[in-house]
Structure formats: structure tokens, C-alpha cells
């Protein structure tokens, strides 16, 4: 596997969320769970339920995207002469991880 992607391209950005308002994964998951509970108790009117449903679909999509967006990589974090951090692939660790 190494640095190769595991069959996932970086997902196209969802249009449901602007760059500023896109929630973190855990927030998205929590909100989604809350929406599901609210819908399951049936406490809202039909219009509100539809709104919640649409929001929930957007959140679920976001969660899926987040789960798939990262590629497997192992890198070293090093520092140049001026103390600037940089990374380079940790080939040895990748090899080791391949054959435990």
C-alpha cells in the first residue's frame, strides 16, 4: 500500500457548506445523530422535518467525504538550517509497516 492511495481520490468539495461554516467531523457526526433522533421522535412538523432531513443528508455526505479524503502516508518531520520544518517520506517505516 505505502503511499499509494487506497482507491480514493480527494472528493470534490460539497456545495452544502461554505469554507467557513464546514463543521469538523465530530461536530458533523454529532449534529447528524441529533437530527436522526429528532426525526425518529417525530416531534417536528413536516416542513421542519424536511429541512432537518436535507441538513442531515448534507452532513452524512460530509462525514463520508472526510472518512475518504486522507491517503495513507508516513513521513518524517525534519528541520532545515533555518529551523523551518519540512517533511520527507519515511520509506523505512513504510516498508516495516508493510511487513509487520
Amino acid at each position: 500500500m505505502g503511499e499509494a492511495t487506497l482507491g480514493g481520490q480527494e472528493a470534490l468539495p460539497d456545495r452544502e457548506f461554505g469554507a467557513d461554516e464546514e463543521p469538523a467531523f465530530e461536530q458533523a457526526l454529532e449534529e447528524l445523530a441529533a437530527i436522526v433522533r429528532a426525526l425518529e421522535t417525530g416531534e417536528h412538523g413536516l416542513d421542519r422535518s424536511l429541512e432537518l432531513f436535507q441538513r442531515g443528508v448534507a452532513l452524512a455526505r460530509l462525514c463520508h467525504r472526510r472518512l475518504d479524503e486522507v491517503e495513507r502516508k508516513i513521513e518524517w518531520l525534519l528541520e532545515d538550517e533555518e529551523g523551518r520544518p519540512y517533511t520527507e517520506p519515511a520509506h523505512r517505516l513504510i516498508e516495516e509497516a508493510r511487513d509487520p
Binding site: L6, I74, R84, L93
Partner: protein, 449 residues
Amino acid sequence: MSQPEMWSQTARWPRTVADPGRIWSVAELTARVRLLLEADPQLQQVWVRGEISNYKRHSSGHVYFTLKDDRAALRCVMFRSAARTLRFEPGDGMAVIAGGRIGVYEAGGQYQLYVETLEPDGVGALYLAFEQLKERLRREGLFDPERKRPLPRLPRRVGVVTSADGAALRDIIRVASRRNPRLHLIVAPVPVQGDEAAPAIAAAIRRFGRFGGVDVLIVGRGGGSWEDLWPFNEEVVVRAVAESPIPVVSAVGHETDFTLCDLAADVRAPTPSAAAELVVPDWYELRDRVVDLRQRLERAMRLRVRMARDRLERLAGSRGMFYPRDRVLQHRQRLDTLLRDLVATARRLVDERRQRLLLLSGRLESLSPLAVLARGYSIARDARGEVLKDARRVTPGDRVDVWLHRGQLRCRVEAVLPDNAPISGGTGSGPDGGEQDDGRGHGRSHDKG
């Protein structure tokens, strides 16, 4: 020489000793004393137990104090280079064992112990240092629970500060790979024991802070002796952990090992493997959870819509006013009532009309000119076909058609008599009014007849 000195020398210290030839300078004498003391190998590597008093750390970094017991005192000095290695902060009243050499401070005329190492008497220095630093940093608030930050549920990148060759890193990679097939791991390799370890670890933590590309940091090493783990108790490391802008999971040694790094970190993991478990979420579990929530979401919405439809159906049968459709139904019901009323009314009206029609047509029957003719009346018309009601409309010689009950007569007028004097022969003028004539006309003609 001045007068008083002359006096004092002669009066108080007369040179009456046997050999006045050698007169020492202070420096010479002090140097001699120093030479004697420093020539004694026993005094050049000495351990002495005592209690600290007059402890003073000079701004230069040198440390001065006096060691005492119940009968004597010994002046001590610890130069900056030696004082830097102190792993605890000495203080007055502290029982210690000092190691060093006896020397003479010539300018002060003092012999003293030049301290190379200082250990607390009774407890280990490391332990004491640990307790002291812990107390100091605790008072500073570095370990406060409210400083602790939650770990991200799904970190995109995980940073690790540990030895490149240690078991800790292998454990972390193994556990993390098992839990998340898409993990991005970034490792800052550092020595984890020895003198250079602490500064290197602190620097690596700060490097991650500047780099900023990771969501969480694991700082640690595998098991070892108390001394091996010591760098993780060093102030530089503890401060770097506390000041890290990235949440830190501390994973030093085994379950039973507790370091100050653990206390300053946002989360303490008992081992590096456990740190990986904590930090790297089970990707498959999260994915299943999202899938489950999504399915429940859709199911709940379908159910919600079905509920709404059912409710609507129920309401359609009642007089509820909740939805427009119910209102329509209500209207329709009223309309139905109105329609029913309307039909009844119309039928009544029609019935009335029909009855009136029957009545009228009966009367009409009696009004028919033909019926009148049957009773012996006749209708006279002029040549143009107009009904004649006035004799003066014709002149003798005009042709007149007379309608009888049966048949017509084509007649020629012989005379015109304007008044209704009886005419012999009994042929009267017909009743005025034709088919269109109304009852009144009929009545009049009737009267005439």
C-alpha cells in the same frame, strides 16, 4: 612610616623572636595553607553530610551555602557549571550529602568545600527533583484540568515525537495501521534518553507547533528505568507539551510509569500502543456509524412523510382545520349541503311552476278563440287579414273573411252601421281580440257577447 604604626609595631609586636628573618605576606601564608589542604588526596574527593543554611543562589549562577551539624559549620560553594546539573532546588534546612573538594578562597581567607554534586540525604535526587518541579509547575497551573483539550475524533494527520528506532514507534504504526487504512502519520525522530533527549524532544514538539500540519501529537517512548524516562520529567519538555498548540497525548513507558509530561499533556496514555488506540479512530467503526445514521435518517424521514399522509387521511374525515386540504374538504362539505338545498329548492320551484303552468294552461284552454267560436262566436278580418273590431274600418263593397267554428265565409260588405243596433239576421261582430288577446279582452268580448 606614620607615627601610630611605628608605635603599634614597637609597642605591641616587638621583634624579639629568635628568627625574625622570614616575614610572610598574607598571600604567601594563605597560599601555603591552600597548598597543604589541596595536597591531601582525602580532602580532594570528599563526601560530607550536613544541613544547608544560608543558602544563596547568586545572579552569576554560582550557589553559596553553609553546611552545618550540631557542632561545626562548613562553607560551601557550587559553581554555575556544577549548579546547572542540580535536579532539585536546595534550600535551608535540607539534609544533603555534598561531594567535592576542600579548597581555600584566598581573597576571603576561607577554606571551603567546592561542591561538585549535591544529593538530598535520604531520598533520591531524581525523586526530589520530580516532586519539586511537579509542585512548581502545578502552582503555575500547567496541569490544570481546564487546560485539557479534547482530541479530534477523526484526525487527518497524526504527529509522533519519539525515537526513530524504538519499539514505541513500531507499536504506534502497527496499531494505527490496523485501525485506519488511510492514516497519515508524521514522525519527528528524537533521542529519548541521555542528556540531549530533553531539549530535542522539546524542540520537536515546538517544531510540530510551527509546522501545524497535524491534528494531534503523540509524545513518548517505550518502557525503561526511572532514569531512562527522566527526559520526560524535564522542565523544557513539560513546558513544550503544555504550550503546544496541538493537543498532546503523552505515552511514556508502561502503565505504572508517571511522568510530568503525562500531567501536562491533554491526555495520558498508559503505553504508546494505547496512545495509538486513543488517537487513531477505528475507521471502519466510524464509517459504519455514518452509514447507519444515514440509513436511519432516510427511514425516519420516510416514516415521517407516511405519518403526515396518514394524519391527512384521518383529518380528511373530520372537521379539523390543520391543513389547507382539510379546509378544502370543509368547503366541499358546505358546498354539498348548499347543492342539496339548491336542488330541493329548484325542485320545489319547478313543481310550483309546473302547477302554475297546468293552472294557466287550463285557463288558456278556455281562452282559446277556437273554443269561443265553438260557442257560436265568429271572427271577422279585413282583406289584409286583420281582425275587425270597428265597423268603421271597412266601407261597403270591401271584402271580409269571417271565421266560424267550422269553415270561413268570404263576404262583401253591404252597409256599415257604426252602432251596435241589432241587425236582423243575428250576425254579430266577433269578439275583439285574436289569439294573443288576454283574459280581459276575452272578458269584454264575452260581456259584449
